[in-house]
């Protein structure tokens, strides 16, 4: 494993995602999410600089604008409005979840060894490993947490993982598709924020696991 900028950025995004698993405090989760997405944006910029693709520069800029600044600010506003600081007891305790996350990193390394390295200058398998690990982390976040806001963050991390995989295995998808995805993501998050308000007003809590009460 040769450590160049590409690998360092990919692995730091994976590690920040894993660190997100270790705490239930929502603001710290958002902070790690910002760091994680920033690493992905820098990775995009690095690939753009390496392969002289200006489209990727635009994509990196919009990622920073939307995912690092706009969405976290919006989610912070939502959290302040509904007065929620930290998650209720998650299904898998935070320390255990973080250890499982690091285990997933190891598993993704083993998985990524099965691919073949697609680029000559850098080892794209490291990018694949980071992407698969981020994907698993997102899934783990969504599975173990109970609060709706955590589920949103988990979904965002998941989406980041898919994006990172596409980025490192190809040279990024076309500009139109990426823009479309980003805008769609923004719309989804805004809608989810509104729905969280409704859930809070109707149920007085945003604990998703207790929504099974609807059955009775």
């Amino acid at each position: 494993m040769h450590l160049d900028t590409f690998t360092v950025l990919a692995i730091s995004s994976a590690i920040s995602a894993i660190l997100m698993l270790g705490t239930n405090h929502l603001r710290i989760n958002l902070f790690f999410y910002c760091v994680h997405t920033l690493a992905i944006a820098l990775e995009t910029a690095w690939i753009a600089q390496r392969f002289h693709d200006t489209n990727l520069y635009w994509i990196a800029f919009f990622i920073i604008l939307l995912k690092v600044i706009a969405i976290p600010k919006y989610l912070q506003w939502v959290m302040t409005k509904i007065d929620v600081e930290s998650d209720v007891e998650p299904f898998i305790a935070a320390p255990l979840a973080m250890t499982i996350g690091v285990g997933m990193l190891g598993l993704s390394y083993l998985l990524s060894l099965q691919f073949s390295s697609l680029w000559t200058e850098v080892d794209s398998r490291m990018g694949a490993m980071a992407a698969i690990s981020v994907f698993f982390t997102g899934v783990l976040l969504m599975l173990s947490r109970k609060i709706a806001v955590s589920q949103i963050i988990g979904f965002l991390v998941l989406e980041n993982g898919i994006y990172l995989f596409a980025l490192t295995q190809t040279h990024g998808m076309p500009l139109i598709i990426e823009m479309g995805l980003l805008l769609e993501l923004l719309a989804i998050v805004m809608l989810s924020g509104l729905i969280v308000f409704r859930i809070k007003k109707s149920f007085e809590h945003i604990d998703v696991s207790r929504l099974t009460e609807l059955r009775e």
């Binding site: 190891g106 390394y109 083993l110 060894l113």
Partner: protein, 667 residues
């Protein structure tokens, strides 16, 4: 009858005479009665063990030896034949050392049982047990092994049930019997498959026995039931706490090692391709390690604590054996030698220290009539020798330098490091490092467990009025514990030299020996020795040079926050000590705390507070009970077939005849 050495050679004479003495003891136990019966038989036991020990030492001086005894006496399928080589000899050595230590500390403890058991039968079973142990170790073919294994199990069951009036002893004996039957079934199944594969009952004909996966797994689990690895450790807690004094120590120290010997003899010799088996052994060893230490921490009963701790140590030995198998697969002979030596060293060191600990625990039980930690405390003043020896023996079990447990654990760590830096696959190397982490975690758990045992038993104030009764029981038991403790210290410091003695054993199991003197780094143990000397000199300096003047020492009560006369029960109890850890592992332990506060205004003026911590054993509730229920339902269903009506039985016979005839016509 044929012997390789001459009949008059000293080692052979020594071993034969020890066997004869023990047989005489077994026969005499029916006739001799009287007050000094226990002392008399203990003397016979000691004599036999001593001669056995001399024989072992003399055998090791013959650099390479093997002894065969082939008799014409047939056990229906195979003759009674015995074989002695370096591997057996080592385990015979463990046996002799343990019995020597136990026999000199025995007699007074058995008077504690007085009318509750039949001394003659007890001694007879004990001698039969030891003789069957020896013959199991020496067996050459499967039939011999099975017969003596069964005799061993039965005698142990009778010994557990000696205190037969108590209900718990009966329950313990029955659960032990059930486990033993399961173990025998699995082992017999494995042996049968091997016989059909190799067409012979001799162990030496079973080349590469470990490569046949199915019988190897059956054999491993069968021997594992006897070892008490997870998930079969349940019977140990019951049996080992109810059995009388020396039996517990013998079971813990020696019977488990016989299973380890069988694993080495059958599964590791000639096995160069047993990777799956290696993974299985490593997995079960690791789980036993953690499970054993966790459950040991929660025990209230001193002897059950020690028996769960044995599960932990057997887990360590299994990790070493799994490492050895993996190294064989990779053809790293240095690593294989190191792992095997670590396993053997740990067996010996554990046997020694555990015997010392059990002798101490027996002493406590004999003077205070209780094993319950919540009634003990403050025994350090009345039993200083036991405290000091218990401390050093537990240092050996926790693997703190400079005791012997540290040397063997260090070797296992080194083996895992070497695996992690070798050319093995990524999965194997990461498993090695993960096991390193788990071993240090379990080591810290063991530290918690033994500090609880020592702290609650010996230190602080007495939690009931037992301290008045406490006192050192017997000079010889103190001597036995002292021998165990100092032996473990000496072993720990002189490890590089002791390791050389294991060479003949390794040469039998592995095709290529290795000079471990360089691996078990002499510098490391020199450091240990130098540190010991340094620590000692600093201590002497601090005390003798009056830098800490004793004149201005004032004795006063423990600080009690101004509350005044706090009773002794306000101290830390065992349950509160382990509560922090139990809470973290609550899902595994099914740990619950139930609080009930009664009073007019419950929060402000409580009158009665009831607090209860409950742990339920996960395996028993989750695995054993449902299995037993299913078996009972099935048996009831099958029992419905037996109606007692003759006509129905005739119908069964007729149907069977028809079926057999039709099958015969088809073929």
């Amino acid at each position: 009858m044929s012997f390789n050495l001459e009949l008059t050679s000293p080692p052979l004479m020594a071993i034969l005479s020890s066997l004869i003495i023990w047989t005489i003891g077994a026969l005499l136990s029916f006739v001799i009665k009287g007050r000094l019966i226990h002392q008399f038989f203990a003397a016979i036991l000691f004599a036999g063990a001593f001669l056995l020990g001399i024989a072992v030492v003399l055998f090791f001086q013959h650099n390479s030896f093997s002894l065969d005894f082939l008799s014409g006496f047939y056990f229906a399928l195979a003759p009674l034949s015995l074989h002695l080589d370096a591997l057996n000899c080592f385990f015979l050595g463990i046996l002799s050392v343990t019995i020597c230590l136990l026999s000199i500390s025995l007699p007074k403890y058995l008077h504690y049982y007085k009318e509750r058991f039949n001394a003659g039968i007890y001694w007879h079973c004990l001698f039969a047990f030891i003789l069957s142990l020896v013959f199991t170790l020496l067996s050459v073919n499967a039939i011999c092994f099975l017969i003596f294994w069964e005799i061993m199990s039965l005698t142990v069951m009778m010994l557990i049930a000696s205190d037969h009036i108590r209900q718990r002893a009966k329950h313990a004996a029955l659960s032990y019997l059930a486990m033993t039957i399961i173990s025998s079934v699995l082992i017999t199944g494995a042996f049968l498959i091997y016989y059909f594969h190799y067409k012979s009952w001799n162990f030496s004909d079973w080349t590469s026995a470990g490569s046949l996966l199915m019988p190897a797994l059956l054999l491993f689990f069968g021997l594992g039931v006897k070892c008490g690895i997870w998930p079969f450790q349940i019977w140990m807690a019951h049996a080992q706490s109810e059995a009388p004094a020396p039996v517990t120590a013998l079971m813990s120290a020696v019977m488990k090692k016989v299973s380890i010997y069988a694993i080495i003899r059958l599964l590791i010799i000639n096995n160069d391709s047993g990777v799956v088996l290696a993974y299985v052994i490593l997995a079960f060893g690791t789980v036993s390690l953690v499970w054993g230490s966790l459950f040991a921490l929660l025990e209230r009963d001193l002897k059950r604590l020690l028996s769960f701790s044995t599960v932990e140590n057997i887990g360590l030995i299994l990790i070493a054996l799994g490492l050895c198998l993996m190294a064989r697969h990779l053809h790293c002979w240095d690593l294989a030698n190191l792992a095997l030596t670590a396993a053997l060293f740990h067996s010996f060191s554990h046997a020694l220290s555990k015997t010392g600990l059990f002798i101490g625990a027996n002493g406590i039980e004999a003077v205070t009539y209780t094993r319950d930690l919540s009634f003990l405390g403050g025994l350090a003043g009345k039993m200083p020798w036991t405290t000091a020896c218990f401390l050093i023996n537990s240092m050996a079990i926790i693997a703190l330098p400079p005791a012997s447990g540290f040397a063997s654990k260090w070797m296992i760590y080194q083996g895992l490091f070497q695996l992690a830096t070798s050319h093995a696959q990524v999965v194997d190397r990461s498993i090695a490092l993960i096991i390193v982490g788990i071993m240090s975690f379990a080591g810290a758990l063991a530290l918690a467990c033994y500090t609880k045992a020592i702290g609650i038993c010996f230190l602080g104030r007495s939690r009931s009025d037992v301290a008045g009764r406490a006192g050192e029981l017997l000079k010889t038991s103190m001597a036995a514990q002292f021998v165990a403790a100092s032996a473990s210290l000496i072993l720990g410091v002189c490890a590089p030299y002791i390791v050389r003695l294991f060479q003949p054993v390794c040469l039998i199991v592995l095709p290529k020996g290795a000079d471990l003197h360089s691996v078990v780094a002499l510098p490391l143990f020199t450091t240990v020795l130098l540190s010991l000397i340094f620590v000692g000199s600093v201590l002497v300096l601090l005390n003798k040079l009056s830098l800490r003047p004793r004149a201005r020492l004032k004795k006063y009560i423990t600080w009690d926050c101004g509350y005044g006369d706090l009773p002794a029960r306000a101290e830390e109890t065992g349950a509160s000590f382990s509560e922090s850890i139990a809470r973290i592992f609550a899902p595994i332990l099914q740990y619950r705390m139930i609080t009930e506060i009664q009073g007019k205004d419950r929060r402000h003026f409580p009158e009665v507070i009831k607090f209860e911590t409950v742990t339920s054993p996960l395996l028993e509730e989750g695995l054993y009970r449902p299995t037993l229920k299913i078996i009972q339902i099935l048996s009831r269903g099958i029992a419905a077939l037996q109606t007692g009506s003759i006509h129905l039985y005739l119908v069964y016979v007729f149907i069977t005849l028809v079926v057999l005839v039709s099958i015969g016509i088809r073929l």
